[in-house]
């Protein structure tokens, strides 16, 4: 569930990677800044950057509020023109027992609006989630630029 998927795949070039712990609200701000910097590295447009940073902010807050804290790996991966920004949020919280409900707009077990997961899924180009109740949750998202 954890360490394996962080290893870069064959034929891919790991351009840069950074792990940020998510323990406080200030860390959520840090995540936003680092994701914005990573999107700048791949030459993303303003709207592409805004979407990805917003998604990262939602997911980091979920990690903090529902996962009891955790970390995110921010990586720029891929070759020259096919580079993308990949984020892996990991927590060891209670996990998600009903995934389809958790991915529904407006559903929340906390005090939120229930837009975090479903919203982040709409804002990213790739979205993958795995959760084991009692063990934790891993959310992996990626985005790239359509700019020539």
């Amino acid at each position: 569930m954890r360490s394996d998927e962080r290893r870069p795949e064959e034929g891919r070039v790991e351009n840069s990677a950074e792990t940020i712990p998510i323990r406080t609200g200030a860390d959520v701000s840090r995540v936003r800044r680092s994701v914005a910097a990573a999107m700048a590295v791949i030459g993303a447009s303003r709207i592409e950057t805004t979407r990805m940073v917003t998604a990262a902010s939602e997911l980091a807050r979920n990690t903090l509020d529902y996962g009891g804290g955790g970390e995110v790996l921010i990586a720029v991966v891929g070759r020259m023109t096919r580079r993308k920004v990949e984020l892996v949020f990991t927590d060891h919280g209670p996990g998600i027992s009903d995934m389809s409900k958790a991915l529904t707009d407006g559903y929340s077990t906390g005090g939120g609006l229930g837009l975090g997961l479903s919203g982040a899924r709409r804002l990213c180009k790739e979205f993958e989630i795995r959760s084991v109740p009692g063990e934790g949750t891993v959310v992996k998202v990626a985005s790239w630029t359509e700019r020539p």
Binding site: V28, T54, L115, G116, G119
Partner: protein, 133 residues
């Protein structure tokens, strides 16, 4: 009550019967909580008719900040003040809608001037209505 310019506090300025605050920093949760308290107190103290929140410097508005803006707007409404969010960046507007937040019940204007105009118009309309009654 004195308001010092603290790094963790967003200053609130009074212009006529409007309160203006500019959110320029990457908001941290603690600052949002402080802001709600400060603003509610200032509205009650100054009898402000409007609150202008300038978010032109924010490059990201997530659901947490969106909810904060909606909350502030609701608090102000109960204290008889209208809130107008001004200066939202186009990319932020697009992202908010895609995120699923349409900020219903929150007034917006493109800049501070237009926001101020909106508040003036509304409070004079309200005065007229009261006059008619």
């Amino acid at each position: 009550m004195t308001h010092f310019l603290e790094p963790n506090r967003i200053p609130i300025f009074q212009i006529g019967d409007c309160l203006l605050l500019t959110i320029q920093v990457d908001l941290e949760d603690r600052m949002i909580m402080t802001l709600k308290d400060d603003l509610a107190e200032r509205i009650a103290k100054t009898h402000a008719k409007g609150v202008l929140i300038d978010i032109s410097a924010l490059d990201v508005v997530d659901s947490f900040i969106g909810r904060m803006l909606a909350n502030i707007s609701a608090i102000a409404r109960i204290l008889d003040a209208a809130t107008v969010i001004v200066g939202m960046r186009p990319a932020v507007a697009i992202t908010l809608v895609e995120l699923g937040m349409s900020l219903q019940g929150v007034r917006t204007a493109l800049d501070v001037d237009r926001g101020m105009e909106l508040i003036r118009r509304e409070s004079s309309e309200e005065a007229e209505r009261l006059h008619e009654v």
